[in-house]
């Protein structure tokens, strides 16, 4: 039991300073995910999108993450080196607040799959300006969640609802199997 499990973490490193704004990442992403592959292309279907405001010198490739059914309660703006990045500029969610990361016809959410089966994500392969580079590393994962981690979560639930309610809920859930 001493042997720890490993997981592969795939990372795309995004160097905004090197980006020339060409959108080749969008082009090849949408082409690769066409069916059959490369049979069509359409950046609106891409799972990476350039947030692009040339006059403000803002070029941010953002990858599609999880779908979320609701917008955030608040939205943030980032100011970096005097440049104001729009609300949601760095967010990966396919969310009701914007059109990005949804199929333009069906509206179904899109998610980056790191081009499963390819040597490296094709956006990286096609970014020969090296704004996008790919890294893989292995991380240890804990086999069992620690008991104290579970307790931290539960105690805050108990604070909120009381011990009785939580015990009842747990009992009901375990009966349902």
């Amino acid at each position: 039991m001493d042997e720890k499990k490993k997981k592969k973490v795939k990372t795309i490193k995004i160097d905004l300073d090197k980006c020339n704004g060409c959108r080749a990442c969008e082009v090849i992403c949408s082409a690769f995910h066409a069916n059959p592959p490369y049979s069509s292309n359409n950046p609106a279907r891409s799972r990476v999108r350039m947030i692009r405001e040339p006059i403000k010198d803002i070029y941010v490739p953002v990858y599609a993450g999880e779908y979320t059914p609701a917008e955030c309660m608040g939205r943030d703006k980032y100011i970096i080196d005097g440049k104001e990045y729009d609300e949601c500029a760095f967010c990966r969610a396919a969310c009701p607040s914007r059109a990005s990361f949804k199929e333009p016809d069906s509206g179904l959410p899109l998610k980056c799959d790191m081009c499963e089966g390819e040597e490296e994500p094709l956006c990286v392969k096609w970014c020969i300006t090296d704004a996008l580079t790919y890294e893989e590393r292995e991380e240890d994962i804990e086999e069992e969640p620690k008991a104290e981690d579970v307790e931290v979560g539960l105690s805050s639930m108990i604070d909120k609802y009381g011990m009785d309610k939580i015990t009842d809920a747990l009992a009901r859930m375990s009966q349902k199997g």
């Binding site: 082009v27 490369y38 292309n41 359409n42 006059i55 070029y59 020969i128």
Partner: protein, 670 residues
């Protein structure tokens, strides 16, 4: 289903406000590919030969190319076609950026405007929804400013907008169409857009472009990207830096301008400015460029970085590429790059051509110094002040007058050829840098180069950078260098081109002007023209194909690209024939507008050493090779062979060609 193209054009009649989506004939794609080729067909079919560029009967086409919006790197050009108010011939100015891809994703290969809008409008194309919208609130706004205002107004940050500035609204004959980092600048296409009452066109598209042979096409694209990487790592040795790499001249990247500042004759000059590039200037320019340049940028789906975002305190940000940083500053005799960036910013907002405009301004200063223009021409009015006396102030003043068509600016706004005619009194001597009434790149050289003589004379794109490429501009001094150059010269259509280069010497019989011989020079020009014509039909940027030495796209992989994208059966022979058809078609359109041999004359002082007999022989040989008569008119036989029999018929009917003449010409119609 259509592959590579959408199969639809969007037709907008501005007089009646009608909008129609029209399916195109796939046969036209087989015959002319698209872009410039199909534009030529439409222009020929729809606009009679005698239509004035500012008539409602003139049309204005914004075309994508056949490969635009496919994953082929660098296929992003918009080919704008109309009749030029300046040359009166066919104009096909082009721009990169993101406009053409967006238009195609919206579902259209071309936008065709006819008629004239009674008031200033802008067009909003959002996939199938197309609106003609009021633009009265945008009247007088800058070309860059307008693009931003429209995106805000539509709340469409992803829309791509092409716009004119004040110069286009005022029908300045050197008005450009601006879009992102790009512009269609030459030949007054912005003036025609202004005349039609179109302030801007905004496009957003989210549809698919289909590929006929997907795996094959993807492989071809990968090969091109790999080759670009290879060329980035291995510049061509023995040539100056801007010829060593790919892309358009890397003026945003390079700061060392010794060569350009000292070897071009900027503005309207006749002499070079030797010893311009001092240590002091180098340091100052270096600092200015690095401060102003926020980022090197590209067009759609292209790894190059030919443009830049330029921002300086006290002025709105804009994007620049190519030589505009030098054209104004050098023409004005202001040794300050900061001035260069600032006046180019104002010029970009006005929307004017960065080559012709400074030339016209410098021409005005020369005329003043010569006493042909006087203080009276530089006076102020109630609306504006008199022209300042300092070089910088004078240039800003002249730019304002031209864009506003005020005072002497109204005359200069037509370019140096027409301005000289209007001013008279010897002014024509000073309009010395035109071909076919259009301002040329300011170069004054020593020995006549036969290849360049032909390209300058016969080019119908009117700009040498859009005709040259592929073949080195001068011979390599040693055989070793020549052998090294031809070793991996895979782009040649035929092995004979390698021999031409190996034989080309710096001095003696095998040197300019006698070598390349007229036959060989013609061969070389034909190859260079071929690559440009194919690019312009495919929407490929010349910077990855016809302009630089050893580019990733060439006559051997283009047929595969076309075939894989569209499914059409294509090989080198067929593609060459399409080139010949398109080349002849453009020539025929201009022939119908009056283009003759007498117009094919480079500036008298372009080369110091001239050879009238040799030059005549060069033109004779070129015309003969092309299948044209001695007046530069395609013969009936040539036209019929290329499937352009209807053009020949028209020529015979209108007397341009005689049916029975041996050379097919009708001299009395000259």
């Amino acid at each position: 289903m259509r592959y590579g193209e959408t199969g639809y054009n969007l037709e907008i009649d501005l007089t009646h406000g009608s909008i129609e989506r029209v399916e195109t004939d796939p046969k036209d794609t087989e015959l002319y590919l698209g872009g410039l080729g199909t534009n030529a067909k439409i222009l020929w079919d729809r606009v009679p030969a005698d239509v004035d560029p500012f008539s409602p009967d003139n049309i204005l086409i914004f075309s994508t190319g056949l490969l635009c919006s496919t994953p082929a790197p660098g296929a992003n050009r918009t080919i704008v076609t109309t009749y030029s108010p300046q040359t009166l011939f066919m104009a096909y100015s082009m721009m990169g950026g993101v406009f053409a891809p967006e238009l195609k994703f919206a579902g259209y290969d071309k936008l065709i405007f006819t008629g004239k809008s009674p008031k200033l409008v802008y067009i909003w194309i959002n996939n199938d929804q197309v609106e003609i919208r009021d633009a009265s609130h945008l009247k007088g706004k800058g070309a860059v400013e307008t693009q931003e205002l429209i995106k805000q107004e539509l709340n469409e940050p992803d829309a791509q907008v092409a716009a004119i500035g004040l110069a286009g609204e005022n029908k300045v004959w050197m008005a450009s169409i601006e879009q992102g980092r790009s512009s269609a600048s030459r030949l007054g296409v912005g003036a025609v857009m202004g005349d039609k009452g179109i302030k801007a066109i905004a496009v957003r598209g989210t549809k698919d472009i289909n590929i006929a042979k997907p795996a094959e096409f993807y492989q071809l694209c990968n090969e091109v990207l790999q080759y670009i990487k290879f060329r980035e790592e291995k510049p061509v040795p023995g040539v100056m830096p801007i010829l060593a790499g790919l892309g358009s001249p890397q003026e945003m990247k390079h700061i060392d301008e010794k060569w350009h500042t000292e070897n071009f004759v900027w503005g309207n000059a006749r002499e070079r400015r030797k010893n311009f590039w001092t240590k002091e200037i180098e340091e100052k320019w270096n600092k200015t460029q690095l401060t102003a340049r926020k980022r090197l940028i590209s067009c759609y789906n292209c790894p190059m970085k030919c443009g830049a975002i330029i921002s300086l305190p006290g002025m709105s940000t804009y994007m620049m590429k190519c030589f505009s940083k030098l054209t104004y500053a050098m023409a004005a005799y202001v040794e300050d790059l900061d001035f260069g960036f600032r006046i180019a910013q104002r010029a970009t907002e006005y929307g004017v051509d960065g080559f012709s405009t400074p030339q016209a301004m410098a021409f005005a200063v020369e005329l003043y110094n010569a006493g042909i223009l006087t203080d009276k021409d530089f006076e102020g009015t109630d609306a504006y002040e008199a022209c300042p006396k300092d070089n910088a102030g004078r240039f800003y003043w002249l730019l304002d007058r031209i864009a506003r068509r005020e005072g002497i600016g109204d005359v200069l706004a037509n370019g140096t050829y027409w301005a000289a005619k209007a001013i008279g009194n010897g002014a024509e001597e000073y309009a010395h840098n035109n071909i076919k009434k259009h301002e040329q790149l300011p170069l004054k050289l020593g020995m006549l180069n036969p290849v360049y003589y032909l390209m300058y004379s016969t080019g119908e794109k009117m700009n040498i950078t859009q005709i040259e490429g592929q073949f080195p501009q001068s011979p390599f001094p040693t055989m070793e260098e020549r052998l090294d150059f031809v070793k991996d010269w895979i782009q040649v259509p035929d092995e004979k081109f390698k021999k031409y280069l190996l034989d080309w010497e710096m001095r003696g019989e095998f040197a300019n002007p006698t070598y390349p011989t007229p036959e060989i020079a013609t061969d070389i020009v034909d190859w260079q023209e071929m690559m440009h014509f194919i690019d312009d039909a495919l929407g490929m940027c010349a910077g990855l194909s016809s302009f630089p030495l050893k580019p990733p796209y060439h006559i051997h992989n283009y047929p595969k690209f076309i075939s894989a994208a569209t499914g059409m059966d294509m090989d080198q022979e067929k593609l060459t024939e399409i080139y010949r058809r398109n080349r002849n078609f453009v020539r025929a359109i201009n022939t119908r507008r009056g283009l003759r041999r007498a117009d094919e004359v480079p500036p008298a002082d372009h080369w110091k050493n001239r050879f009238p007999e040799l030059e005549a022989k060069l033109l004779d040989t070129y015309y003969k090779f092309k299948g044209w008569n001695n007046d530069g008119i395609p013969t009936k036989e040539t036209l019929e062979k290329l499937g352009l029999g209807f053009v020949a018929e028209d020529f015979i009917k209108s007397g341009i060609l005689k049916d029975d003449a041996e050379d097919g010409s009708a001299k009395e119609n000259k």
